[in-house]
Protein backbone atom coordinates (compact mmCIF):
# COMPACT_ATOMS: atom_id res chain seq x y z
CA UNK A 1 0.00 0.00 0.00
CA UNK A 2 2.77 2.40 0.90
CA UNK A 3 4.38 1.88 -2.46
CA UNK A 4 1.36 2.96 -4.50
CA UNK A 5 -0.62 5.40 -2.34
CA UNK A 6 2.21 7.57 -1.09
CA UNK A 7 3.48 8.63 -4.51
CA UNK A 8 -0.06 9.49 -5.67
CA UNK A 9 -0.76 11.40 -2.50
CA UNK A 10 2.55 13.20 -2.59
CA UNK A 11 2.31 14.02 -6.27
CA UNK A 12 -1.30 15.17 -5.94
CA UNK A 13 -0.67 17.42 -2.97
CA UNK A 14 2.52 18.77 -4.53
CA UNK A 15 0.65 19.53 -7.76
CA UNK A 16 -2.11 21.30 -5.84
CA UNK A 17 0.37 23.35 -3.86
CA UNK A 18 2.27 24.21 -7.05
CA UNK A 19 -0.97 25.32 -8.72
CA UNK A 20 -1.77 27.55 -5.75
CA UNK A 21 1.74 29.01 -5.84
CA UNK A 22 1.43 29.65 -9.59
CA UNK A 23 -1.90 31.39 -9.03
CA UNK A 24 -0.40 33.65 -6.38
CA UNK A 25 2.60 34.43 -8.60
CA UNK A 26 0.38 35.16 -11.58
CA UNK A 27 -1.66 37.65 -9.58
CA UNK A 28 1.23 39.25 -7.75
CA UNK A 29 1.14 43.04 -7.67
CA UNK A 30 4.74 44.22 -7.85
CA UNK A 31 5.73 47.33 -5.95
CA UNK A 32 6.09 50.39 -8.13
CA UNK A 33 9.62 51.19 -9.21
CA UNK A 34 8.79 54.84 -9.76
CA UNK A 35 11.23 57.17 -8.07
CA UNK A 36 9.98 59.70 -5.58
CA UNK A 37 12.24 62.69 -5.29
CA UNK A 38 11.84 66.18 -3.98
CA UNK A 39 9.89 68.72 -5.98
CA UNK A 40 10.69 72.35 -6.61
CA UNK A 41 8.53 74.75 -8.55
CA UNK A 42 9.62 78.27 -9.42
CA UNK A 43 7.32 81.04 -10.55
CA UNK A 44 8.33 84.62 -11.17
CA UNK A 45 6.59 87.74 -9.88
CA UNK A 46 7.74 90.80 -11.74
CA UNK A 47 7.02 94.46 -10.97
CA UNK A 48 5.83 96.90 -13.62
CA UNK A 49 9.31 97.94 -14.68
CA UNK A 50 10.27 94.57 -16.06
CA UNK A 51 8.54 91.88 -18.01
CA UNK A 52 8.81 88.13 -17.69
CA UNK A 53 7.18 85.95 -20.34
CA UNK A 54 4.74 84.04 -18.19
CA UNK A 55 3.24 84.04 -14.73
CA UNK A 56 3.27 80.25 -14.87
CA UNK A 57 6.17 78.26 -13.49
CA UNK A 58 9.43 78.46 -15.38
CA UNK A 59 10.98 75.59 -13.45
CA UNK A 60 8.97 72.62 -12.23
CA UNK A 61 10.79 69.48 -11.25
CA UNK A 62 9.60 66.61 -9.09
CA UNK A 63 12.50 64.17 -9.08
CA UNK A 64 15.36 65.89 -7.31
CA UNK A 65 17.37 63.36 -5.36
CA UNK A 66 20.41 63.74 -3.13
CA UNK A 67 23.47 63.73 -5.36
CA UNK A 68 21.25 63.51 -8.42
CA UNK A 69 20.98 65.59 -11.53
CA UNK A 70 20.38 69.32 -11.19
CA UNK A 71 17.30 70.99 -12.63
CA UNK A 72 17.91 73.97 -14.88
CA UNK A 73 15.75 76.71 -16.32
CA UNK A 74 16.09 80.12 -17.85
CA UNK A 75 14.01 83.16 -17.05
CA UNK A 76 14.21 85.97 -19.59
CA UNK A 77 13.73 89.37 -17.96
CA UNK A 78 13.08 92.43 -20.12
CA UNK A 79 13.30 96.06 -19.16
CA UNK A 80 10.14 97.96 -20.17
CA UNK A 81 11.11 101.37 -18.78
CA UNK A 82 12.77 104.28 -20.55
CA UNK A 83 15.97 103.92 -18.62
CA UNK A 84 18.29 101.28 -17.20
CA UNK A 85 17.13 99.30 -14.15
CA UNK A 86 18.83 97.11 -11.59
CA UNK A 87 16.86 93.96 -10.98
CA UNK A 88 17.29 91.75 -7.95
CA UNK A 89 15.42 88.74 -6.81
CA UNK A 90 14.48 86.79 -3.70
CA UNK A 91 12.55 83.65 -2.93
CA UNK A 92 9.21 83.70 -1.20
CA UNK A 93 7.80 80.40 -0.04
CA UNK A 94 5.41 79.20 2.61
CA UNK A 95 7.15 75.92 3.32
CA UNK A 96 10.51 75.49 5.01
CA UNK A 97 10.65 71.78 4.16
CA UNK A 98 13.55 72.00 1.70
CA UNK A 99 15.16 75.21 2.94
CA UNK A 100 18.47 73.56 3.86
CA UNK A 101 18.43 70.63 1.46
CA UNK A 102 18.03 72.35 -1.91
CA UNK A 103 20.91 74.36 -3.34
CA UNK A 104 20.17 77.11 -5.82
CA UNK A 105 22.34 79.08 -8.18
CA UNK A 106 21.20 82.14 -10.12
CA UNK A 107 23.40 83.51 -12.90
CA UNK A 108 23.11 86.15 -15.52
CA UNK A 109 25.72 85.47 -18.14
CA UNK A 110 28.99 85.09 -16.30
CA UNK A 111 27.75 87.03 -13.30
CA UNK A 112 26.73 84.99 -10.28
CA UNK A 113 23.68 86.56 -8.69
CA UNK A 114 23.19 84.11 -5.87
CA UNK A 115 24.49 80.76 -4.77
CA UNK A 116 23.48 78.91 -1.65
CA UNK A 117 20.63 77.08 -0.05
CA UNK A 118 17.01 77.81 -0.75
CA UNK A 119 16.93 79.53 2.64
CA UNK A 120 19.75 81.85 1.51
CA UNK A 121 17.66 82.82 -1.47
CA UNK A 122 15.12 84.38 0.87
CA UNK A 123 17.53 87.33 0.90
CA UNK A 124 17.87 89.64 -2.10
CA UNK A 125 20.34 88.56 -4.74
CA UNK A 126 22.99 90.76 -6.31
CA UNK A 127 21.43 93.03 -8.93
CA UNK A 128 21.58 92.51 -12.63
CA UNK A 129 21.51 95.61 -14.78
CA UNK A 130 19.09 95.85 -17.67
CA UNK A 131 19.70 98.65 -20.11
CA UNK A 132 16.80 100.51 -21.73
CA UNK A 133 14.66 97.92 -23.57
CA UNK A 134 17.34 95.38 -22.76
CA UNK A 135 16.78 91.75 -21.89
CA UNK A 136 18.85 89.42 -19.76
CA UNK A 137 18.47 85.71 -19.19
CA UNK A 138 18.58 84.59 -15.60
CA UNK A 139 19.76 80.98 -15.41
CA UNK A 140 18.47 79.04 -12.45
CA UNK A 141 20.00 75.78 -11.31
CA UNK A 142 18.59 73.73 -8.42
CA UNK A 143 19.92 70.50 -6.98
CA UNK A 144 20.22 68.49 -3.80
CA UNK A 145 23.74 67.66 -2.69
CA UNK A 146 24.61 64.09 -1.75
CA UNK A 147 23.92 63.22 1.85
CA UNK A 148 20.91 65.47 2.27
CA UNK A 149 18.24 63.79 4.38
CA UNK A 150 14.48 63.89 4.65
CA UNK A 151 13.88 65.08 1.11
CA UNK A 152 11.79 62.20 -0.28
CA UNK A 153 8.42 63.38 -1.46
CA UNK A 154 8.90 66.90 -0.15
CA UNK A 155 7.81 69.71 -2.39
CA UNK A 156 8.23 73.43 -2.28
CA UNK A 157 6.71 76.14 -4.39
CA UNK A 158 9.02 79.13 -4.74
CA UNK A 159 7.81 82.51 -5.89
CA UNK A 160 10.80 84.37 -7.22
CA UNK A 161 10.05 87.97 -6.43
CA UNK A 162 11.76 90.45 -8.74
CA UNK A 163 12.45 94.00 -7.71
CA UNK A 164 13.51 96.68 -10.18
CA UNK A 165 15.22 99.92 -9.26
CA UNK A 166 15.63 102.71 -11.79
CA UNK A 167 19.25 103.64 -12.26
CA UNK A 168 19.70 107.35 -11.82
CA UNK A 169 21.69 109.06 -14.52
CA UNK A 170 25.04 110.37 -13.23
CA UNK A 171 25.15 114.15 -12.56
CA UNK A 172 27.17 116.28 -14.94
Amino acid sequence: MTLTITPIRTAGIASGLALAALLVLAFRVPASSEMLGAGVRFTAMAPGEVHVPSTDSFLDVGELTPGGKAARATLPVRNVTRGPVDVRMRARMASHDLDRAVRVELRSGARMLASGTLADLRRWTRPVRLERAGEQNVHVRAWIPAGAEDTVGRRVSVRLQLDAELVKAPRR
Binding site: G12, S15, G16, L19, A20, L23, R28, V29, L36, R154
Partner: protein
Protein backbone atom coordinates in the same frame (compact mmCIF):
# COMPACT_ATOMS: atom_id res chain seq x y z
CA UNK B 1 -19.07 -22.19 8.83
CA UNK B 2 -19.37 -20.19 5.65
CA UNK B 3 -17.91 -16.72 5.57
CA UNK B 4 -20.46 -13.96 5.01
CA UNK B 5 -18.09 -11.78 2.97
CA UNK B 6 -16.02 -12.59 -0.05
CA UNK B 7 -12.41 -13.30 0.94
CA UNK B 8 -10.07 -10.47 0.06
CA UNK B 9 -7.82 -12.62 -2.11
CA UNK B 10 -10.81 -13.67 -4.17
CA UNK B 11 -11.96 -10.08 -4.65
CA UNK B 12 -8.55 -9.18 -5.93
CA UNK B 13 -8.59 -12.10 -8.33
CA UNK B 14 -12.00 -11.06 -9.64
CA UNK B 15 -11.34 -7.33 -10.09
CA UNK B 16 -7.78 -7.01 -11.21
CA UNK B 17 -7.70 -9.17 -14.33
CA UNK B 18 -11.16 -8.05 -15.51
CA UNK B 19 -10.91 -4.28 -15.11
CA UNK B 20 -7.32 -3.03 -15.24
CA UNK B 21 -8.54 0.37 -16.44
CA UNK B 22 -10.43 0.77 -13.18
CA UNK B 23 -7.15 0.91 -11.29
CA UNK B 24 -5.85 3.65 -13.55
CA UNK B 25 -9.10 5.58 -13.22
CA UNK B 26 -9.10 5.14 -9.49
CA UNK B 27 -5.50 6.29 -9.30
CA UNK B 28 -6.29 9.29 -11.44
CA UNK B 29 -9.28 10.23 -9.33
CA UNK B 30 -7.23 9.86 -6.21
CA UNK B 31 -4.52 12.05 -7.73
CA UNK B 32 -7.10 14.69 -8.65
CA UNK B 33 -8.58 14.50 -5.18
CA UNK B 34 -5.21 15.10 -3.56
CA UNK B 35 -4.47 17.86 -6.09
CA UNK B 36 -7.68 19.63 -5.09
CA UNK B 37 -6.81 19.13 -1.43
CA UNK B 38 -3.27 20.44 -2.02
CA UNK B 39 -4.63 23.43 -3.93
CA UNK B 40 -7.04 24.22 -1.09
CA UNK B 41 -4.21 23.95 1.42
CA UNK B 42 -2.03 26.20 -0.78
CA UNK B 43 -4.72 28.85 -1.02
CA UNK B 44 -5.35 28.63 2.71
CA UNK B 45 -1.62 29.13 3.26
CA UNK B 46 -1.60 32.08 0.85
CA UNK B 47 -4.23 33.69 3.05
CA UNK B 48 -2.88 32.63 6.44
CA UNK B 49 0.91 32.98 6.09
CA UNK B 50 0.81 36.75 5.32
CA UNK B 51 -0.86 37.27 8.71
CA UNK B 52 2.50 36.46 10.29
CA UNK B 53 4.14 39.16 8.19
CA UNK B 54 1.93 42.14 8.97
CA UNK B 55 -0.35 41.51 6.03
CA UNK B 56 -3.99 40.56 5.79
CA UNK B 57 -6.49 39.46 3.18
CA UNK B 58 -9.34 41.79 2.20
CA UNK B 59 -12.26 41.08 -0.08
CA UNK B 60 -12.66 43.51 -3.01
CA UNK B 61 -16.21 44.84 -2.82
CA UNK B 62 -16.37 47.08 -5.88
CA UNK B 63 -15.13 47.26 -9.43
CA UNK B 64 -13.33 50.58 -9.05
CA UNK B 65 -9.94 48.94 -9.58
CA UNK B 66 -10.84 46.87 -12.63
CA UNK B 67 -9.13 45.39 -14.53
CA UNK B 68 -6.37 45.06 -11.91
CA UNK B 69 -8.75 43.87 -9.18
CA UNK B 70 -12.26 42.54 -9.70
CA UNK B 71 -15.23 42.45 -7.38
CA UNK B 72 -14.98 39.26 -5.34
CA UNK B 73 -11.21 38.99 -5.52
CA UNK B 74 -9.24 38.72 -2.31
CA UNK B 75 -6.36 41.17 -2.12
CA UNK B 76 -3.57 40.48 0.32
CA UNK B 77 -2.47 43.78 1.76
CA UNK B 78 0.78 44.39 3.60
CA UNK B 79 1.23 47.23 6.08
CA UNK B 80 3.82 49.77 5.03
CA UNK B 81 4.93 53.22 6.11
CA UNK B 82 3.28 55.89 3.93
CA UNK B 83 6.68 57.01 2.65
CA UNK B 84 7.38 53.51 1.35
CA UNK B 85 4.52 53.85 -1.12
CA UNK B 86 5.23 55.12 -4.62
CA UNK B 87 3.08 56.43 -7.44
CA UNK B 88 1.77 53.38 -9.26
CA UNK B 89 1.32 51.25 -6.14
CA UNK B 90 -2.12 49.94 -5.22
CA UNK B 91 -2.72 50.98 -1.63
CA UNK B 92 -5.43 50.45 0.96
CA UNK B 93 -6.38 53.34 3.20
CA UNK B 94 -9.23 54.60 5.33
CA UNK B 95 -11.90 56.45 3.43
CA UNK B 96 -11.33 60.14 4.28
CA UNK B 97 -15.11 60.62 4.38
CA UNK B 98 -16.01 57.45 6.24
CA UNK B 99 -13.35 56.22 8.63
CA UNK B 100 -14.78 52.73 9.08
CA UNK B 101 -14.48 51.99 5.37
CA UNK B 102 -11.32 50.90 3.59
CA UNK B 103 -10.54 51.93 0.02
CA UNK B 104 -8.05 50.22 -2.28
CA UNK B 105 -6.92 52.49 -5.11
CA UNK B 106 -3.79 53.32 -7.09
CA UNK B 107 -1.44 56.12 -6.02
CA UNK B 108 -1.35 58.81 -8.70
CA UNK B 109 0.77 61.34 -6.83
CA UNK B 110 2.12 61.88 -3.37
CA UNK B 111 4.17 64.39 -1.50
CA UNK B 112 5.24 65.17 2.02
CA UNK B 113 3.87 68.17 3.80
CA UNK B 114 5.29 68.75 7.28
CA UNK B 115 4.75 65.52 9.19
CA UNK B 116 2.07 64.23 6.86
CA UNK B 117 2.11 62.46 3.54
CA UNK B 118 -0.49 63.76 1.10
CA UNK B 119 -1.81 61.27 -1.44
CA UNK B 120 -3.81 61.59 -4.61
CA UNK B 121 -5.29 58.21 -5.45
CA UNK B 122 -7.78 56.97 -7.98
CA UNK B 123 -9.40 53.67 -8.89
CA UNK B 124 -8.25 52.46 -12.32
CA UNK B 125 -11.88 52.39 -13.46
CA UNK B 126 -12.78 55.73 -11.87
CA UNK B 127 -12.51 59.20 -13.32
CA UNK B 128 -12.33 61.04 -10.04
CA UNK B 129 -9.35 61.14 -7.71
CA UNK B 130 -9.44 61.41 -3.98
CA UNK B 131 -7.02 63.42 -1.87
CA UNK B 132 -6.14 62.30 1.61
CA UNK B 133 -3.35 62.63 4.09
CA UNK B 134 -1.84 60.37 6.67
CA UNK B 135 0.83 60.92 9.31
CA UNK B 136 4.29 60.01 8.02
CA UNK B 137 4.69 57.76 11.05
CA UNK B 138 1.34 56.08 10.39
CA UNK B 139 0.71 53.12 8.15
CA UNK B 140 -1.21 52.19 5.05
CA UNK B 141 -1.57 48.94 3.12
CA UNK B 142 -0.01 47.94 -0.17
CA UNK B 143 -1.56 45.16 -2.22
CA UNK B 144 1.06 42.46 -2.76
CA UNK B 145 -1.10 39.89 -4.55
CA UNK B 146 -4.66 38.97 -5.17
CA UNK B 147 -6.57 35.72 -5.45
CA UNK B 148 -9.33 35.92 -8.05
CA UNK B 149 -12.91 35.19 -7.06
CA UNK B 150 -12.01 33.74 -3.68
CA UNK B 151 -13.93 36.55 -2.01
CA UNK B 152 -17.18 35.09 -3.29
CA UNK B 153 -16.34 31.76 -1.66
CA UNK B 154 -15.42 33.48 1.59
CA UNK B 155 -18.59 35.56 1.50
CA UNK B 156 -20.73 32.46 0.96
CA UNK B 157 -18.80 30.65 3.64
CA UNK B 158 -19.79 33.32 6.11
CA UNK B 159 -23.37 32.12 6.01
CA UNK B 160 -23.62 29.22 8.46
CA UNK B 161 -25.37 26.72 6.18
CA UNK B 162 -22.86 27.09 3.36
CA UNK B 163 -19.95 26.88 5.76
CA UNK B 164 -21.26 23.60 7.18
CA UNK B 165 -21.85 22.36 3.64
CA UNK B 166 -18.30 23.24 2.56
CA UNK B 167 -16.85 21.69 5.68
CA UNK B 168 -18.93 18.58 5.08
CA UNK B 169 -17.80 18.38 1.46
CA UNK B 170 -14.14 18.69 2.48
CA UNK B 171 -14.55 16.02 5.15
CA UNK B 172 -16.42 13.76 2.72
CA UNK B 173 -13.61 14.16 0.19
CA UNK B 174 -11.03 13.22 2.78
CA UNK B 175 -13.15 10.29 3.94
CA UNK B 176 -13.53 8.96 0.41
CA UNK B 177 -9.82 9.31 -0.24
CA UNK B 178 -8.90 7.51 2.94
CA UNK B 179 -11.51 4.78 2.58
CA UNK B 180 -10.47 3.99 -0.98
CA UNK B 181 -6.90 3.81 0.26
CA UNK B 182 -7.87 1.41 3.05
CA UNK B 183 -10.14 -0.82 0.96
CA UNK B 184 -7.90 -0.89 -2.00
CA UNK B 185 -6.69 -4.47 -2.74
CA UNK B 186 -3.12 -4.87 -1.70
CA UNK B 187 -0.40 -6.31 -3.82
CA UNK B 188 1.44 -9.19 -2.29
CA UNK B 189 -1.52 -10.06 -0.06
CA UNK B 190 -0.59 -13.03 2.17
CA UNK B 191 -3.97 -14.65 1.36
CA UNK B 192 -3.26 -14.52 -2.32
CA UNK B 193 -1.93 -17.82 -3.68
CA UNK B 194 1.33 -17.55 -5.48
Amino acid sequence: MTALTTPRSRRVRLIEPVMPALRVLRGLLRFLGFTVAGFAVGIALALAVPLAFDARPLVVLSGSMEPALHTGDVSVVRSIAPLDARPGDIVTFRDPDKADRLITHRVRAMHVQGDAVVFRTRGDANNVSEHWRVSASGEIGRVIYSIPKLGWVLSYARSKGVFVLMLGAALALLLVLELTAIWRPEEGDPDEPA
